[in-house]
Symmetry: D2
Subunit: 437 residues, 4 copies
């Protein structure tokens, strides 16, 4: 509290030159939806111990419509691209970006880039589609992305050539860490060439691990689906004597989904996340604790995040996917094998039912909450772009949407604090010990 | 039509000696729910070509409450056992058997046998629980089985000893082919010893392959869940260039679920079932046809029943599970590998997303239709048992419930006719060729 | 069984002149999906008491693809119209009719008639739309009808003029009793004028009351939704001391939905249907029985079909809606008032929560089972029309689809037998007495 | 930012005397779930315009487990009461309060008070039930409240007598504004008598209108259900020519649910909330704007909060319910009538489909998000009570749970700002004007 919080600066293409066509009040305080000034900030740190903030003291610019905008809507050509793996809500984002641009700002042409960054590389031969009202009207009720997606980067220079050649003024990049790194590189190349193209990121991370984004779209839907799977595992585990339901959930470096699904389900007995180092063997190791539970209650449910326990694969070779992400060793299969071997040896006889629902979760339509969240991210991204902000990502902190410079999140991962609210709830709900070692 | 249909005889413990406590009209035709006479029959064959029936000409006794019953409700002790893998609706069946016995007939004690036939073997050490209204009240909203289940047989003689020792008058056996074989063996041993114990089967088969049972409980729920997974596979397949969604569904020897889910989903392009012999390779083989589709449309969804294409594993050793069922080779993984290899060789590059949702489907609660069906099976099983019918299974033909001697279904599997309504609908919906060879 | 069943004759436009383009086997018995001959029949009566059938002994022609067809697909122009109130599955039917005609038969043009029969009257000014693959691709996931609907008839002669002027060869009429009366009148006028236009009906009745149609589309979805509402009523009734949840469901003259939802829900205590005459007052009247329940258990759930208890409004004037249907007096409101008054007088104090979910149920998307059923009705309607059948409705008996002359159902309503399977299940599930008088 | 934020003081029964049995780290910063110190605060105001906070500068004590507690778990007797109308999640709260007390703290006895405050008045004759693990195990999957509820107050003195006589140490009051006023009065009477009874409130408001509680449990579930109903209204409105779907949603003084459901649905054209004053008549009145929409698009969906437009009833008498809440005039029915009359007069002919889903929404089970939220509120209420906090409510601000003195919220209602994020999203999604006057 003692320190003056630091204002996080956002890059602009230049001075806004046009009056926004949106019907908003120009004066806050009149009790009407209003344009927001650039000096309206949202504080990042809200917790303090005594007089000391427990988090970075930052002020982010609040996202929202500006009274004066940089682009002339009637002359603007915008494009949107979706990258990486599927995530519930992609279609909702596409739809709301289109609707806000087209219906509210009056932008005549919005392009959909096909199959991720590949669609920005003309050599791949996948030209953009021109979005229409008919095309997007009902897509928010469908999972997947109508534009298609792909993993991995393309040559930055080629993509900027394409943007310039196609006279695209605004590019919305919907994607995760890798995508935003790409978006940032595009923005830098655009700046280097002195082009007036706004690059605005919309965070997509089913793992919920992008910094300055308390909740990204698709996460609640994923938790919803994960909970159903945990319920199934619970039923399977109780359906036989000494049944063990083992579910591998999303979460490469952050256990948010696994933890939230645990708390929602209330039927999980052990939750293993990347943030938690645990041992399998030994007196206080996971397997011994699991065995105590089986002997006492004759069934157990385990939820494990895909990124958990990677230290157990120590010494094995590291592989990477097309996006450059490390390919994780399969902790689910490892646990299944180790559990089976352990109980074969120590008894009693158990039956392990292993469920890996990944694709089923990623491809469902956004649920109600995520539908609303997508709409809010998307429209604020449009406001930012129309106002000429660039190299910026829409963040979401303390229930407010803010502008975050993309560079600020690049290579950073938000992780779940084992000292935080969510993990405390996991411990309460599972009754599991603080550590397995 | 020319032949006189044959009446299917049902075994009884003896002459009914008591008046049913149910409030039903004793005279049909009065416009009130009535007791059914034993000579009310349901015809099995309903289709005829010209004047010739295309199916067996059988008359089954209609299931339902009888005016006179064999057991004195106040003195009756009943038990229920659930066997084999999970299937949506088990709890609904347990609940309705209990409620009909206890609330409507006034049977004081209904036992729940724990973990399948294991619970009838006292050496295993899992004594039955006494069911109560509180215990069962809301269980129809949960998947799984509150009694637990297990696979595999137990010694018949030991189980009959147990029934006799526990003075159990009625045993309801909820299970599939193997379970009903066990039930039949118990009924025969009971008869040999001159005991008065009614053994009544309730068919449980998520594959829907029990004869004289057009629809068994859990099947529609499974189709429901399978459809959702197919929708996911559809979204995944369209989410990338040349994406292939591959879903393995239930169906060891019958393709009912895979076919029905295909028709419901309307997004499947290829449906492979055990009844259909297909080749992978060759000019008209599956892989070549799939490639044509990918080249033309850039995505495809394949639904394959677990029992399909077992001829492709010719020469591999045969294993069996605890129930004595042949362990199937994994057609899903085989297809995934073969598709990947084929396209690696012939192009274009594809991405195969393989989904195996088995546990997720088996363990959900019964949907509305199955809830109602379970209730109807269960209460008719109670009527049959109270009337002294034994060695009998509740069947369901032409929308009516009937009594089927268990021996009549033992070792028989109902299969989906490739000439029938459902497969024709699959061909219409997928547009796939009649054969892949 | 003694009588020879009567074959139900179906009208044809004339001798089929073209070879079907569908890839089906021409010989049944080869284990492949085959064309069906006209002399393949489905028997209606399946139940018999001793040797006497308990139902009409009729043989219906089985619906399905014919080897030879009447219309040349390349020259055919078809149209589809949806009439009356919303029902889950209308879009599924539109979609599958289009797909079967266009993709499988190769019919180039399929028109969608706007807003029911109004769209066949050019004076109303709502020209048909030409359906496309893009337009229908995902509509089965939406409730309502993309064509719109309306109630009430239009001038028959004007509509036939329109069909002739637009050179429409086939008209599919999706609707209930009134719509099918209209379809029949159109077919007769077509015949009178010597035109070659096939009129094929697809039964739409959320009340499930069209004869020779064991289950019409939308019904299971309605039961599904109704069950959820009954669960809500159950929770509301238990949420307060002496709470009464009262739910009015669909069912003008038939209680199928109310009964089926009761059996599925298992939480209803009283089910009132049009087929059941009941008294409110008197010692055995409904109110006295309800009061006993409240005193004993302190809550109750009542499911009442909208057409139940109309005799209680004796003496009040009769009104009709645009379709000519009698407007029912509101039994839900009457019950609410009478219950409140009765308990005010006799005690204890109760709280009545009245729920009327009609619109919410009619407008949801078809569930899985209904999706599959719609597809099957629709494609068989196309097969019938292409083969030149006319003045015919697709029926569904004993799990088979058949051709039913429209005249045979006109003015007839299927009602739920109080002696049948479903009502017996209601009595078991509710424990209510056979009558309230 | 210039002002030093004010710390909000919380009342305690006294110095904590016992060591918490919870397995938490005693030192924050060790990367383990830890006990929280009393001087850990959460800042309420996070937004600032330039250097000026736009909201109250308050610091709330963070809720969570304390290392030292006031009550000796083994000697503690706790009770929980649920009051007012149903809200999704009540059972989840009951369950988690029980589980945290019983399983984690080891409190032997937890009582469930029956039917709201009535159960604290022994003259009503509804003694508490003793909660058990069996009783609560699966209740989070059910809507309603297993304890029952009621509206309205009871004599404070009588209730405190009861608490004292029953030797209850902790009372959890789950309810809205009225309930918390009661809880505060009880806490004051307890203090006056010098008793050591902790009174802890858990906010229950389906309208989401309790101050210092950004999201209360049940709200997201309500939005979820409301969205489904809006989808239905959309389908109904498009199903006929000039159809108008009109849905009345919850929201007596705050439009949160109506607004959020609008944004989630994306198919609403007009959203009317209590915070917005609007005129029906006149050139810019609601009816004229609606008519423009109907003429242009031939269908419309209106979502209206129950508390909207109460000024239109000016002059009518005011009634109150048992809880003392003003009974609102039915804006839904008024709109239906006014719309019908207006279009009858000005044309075109419209069809209004009015849906009032209140009970259906309130009584469903909590969805995934609310399930998790309930658990978090409940366990933090237990931590607060065990630590001896009293006269305190669990609040939820900026994604953190905090202690709020009950007196601070009494008689206050949180309202949706028309200048805020949510209403801006409504305007974007509906395209409606800022005002109708």
């Amino acid at each position: 509290m003692s320190n003056k919080p630091k204002i996080v600066e956002v890059t602009s293409l230049g001075q806004p030159r046009f009056v926004s066509p949106l019907r908003r009040s120009i004066r806050p305080g009149e009790g009407k939806a209003a344009f927001l000034p650039d000096d309206l900030y949202v504080r990042y740190a809200v917790e303090q111990l005594g007089e000391t903030a427990t988090d970075e003291e930052l002020l982010f610019q609040k996202a929202g419509p500006r009274e004066r905008i940089y682009f002339d809507p009637a002359q603007t050509r915008a494009a949107i691209v979706t990258c990486g793996g599927l995530c519930p809500g992609l279609n909702d984002v596409i739809r709301s970006v289109f609707l806000e641009l087209h219906m509210n700002y009056g932008v005549p042409e919005v392009l959909g880039i096909r199959y991720g960054f590949q669609g920005l590389n003309p050599r791949v031969g996948l030209p953009p589609v021109r979005l229409t009202l008919d095309m997007v009207e009902d897509i928010h009720q469908q999972g997947g992305t109508i534009l298609g997606s792909s993993r991995g980067p393309q040559d930055i220079s080629v993509m900027v050539d394409f943007l310039a050649a196609e006279r695209i003024d605004i590019l919305f990049c919907v994607g995760g860490d890798g995508t935003q790194r790409g978006a940032h590189a595009i923005a830098e190349e655009v700046r280097r060439r002195g082009l007036n193209i706004a690059i605005v990121g919309i965070p997509k991370t089913i793992d919920n691990d992008i910094p300055y984004c308390d909740r990204s779209f698709g996460v609640l839907t994923a938790v919803d689906e994960a909970r159903k799977v945990l319920d199934c595992a619970h039923n399977e585990s109780k359906g036989v004597r000494n049944g063990i339901g083992l579910v591998k959930l999303m979460g490469r470096e952050a256990g948010f989904i696994t933890a939230a699904a645990t708390v929602a389900s209330q039927d999980v007995n052990f939750t293993l996340v990347p943030e938690l180092t645990f041992e399998l063997h030994g007196e206080k190791g996971f397997l011994a604790v699991l065995r105590q539970r089986i002997i006492a209650r004759h069934h157990a449910v385990i939820a494990v995040a895909e990124g958990a326990g990677q230290h157990l694969f120590h010494g094995l070779p590291v592989e990477r996917d097309a996006s450059g992400n490390i390919k994780f060793h399969d902790i689910g299969l490892l646990l299944k094998e180790e559990i089976t071997r352990y109980f074969d040896q120590h008894g009693p006889k158990v039956e392990v039912k292993y469920i890996d629902p990944s694709y089923i979760i990623r491809s469902v339509p956004a649920n109600t909450e995520d539908g609303a969240l997508c709409d809010q991210f998307a429209r604020r991204a449009v406001h930012a772009a129309m106002a000429g902000k660039t190299d910026v990502l829409i963040g979401y902190i303390n229930t407010k949407f803010v502008h975050v410079p993309i560079a600020m999140i690049a290579g950073q991962k938000r992780r779940m604090s084992l000292e935080g609210e969510l993990w405390a709830s996991v411990l309460s709900a599972t009754g599991q010990p603080q550590s397995f070692q």
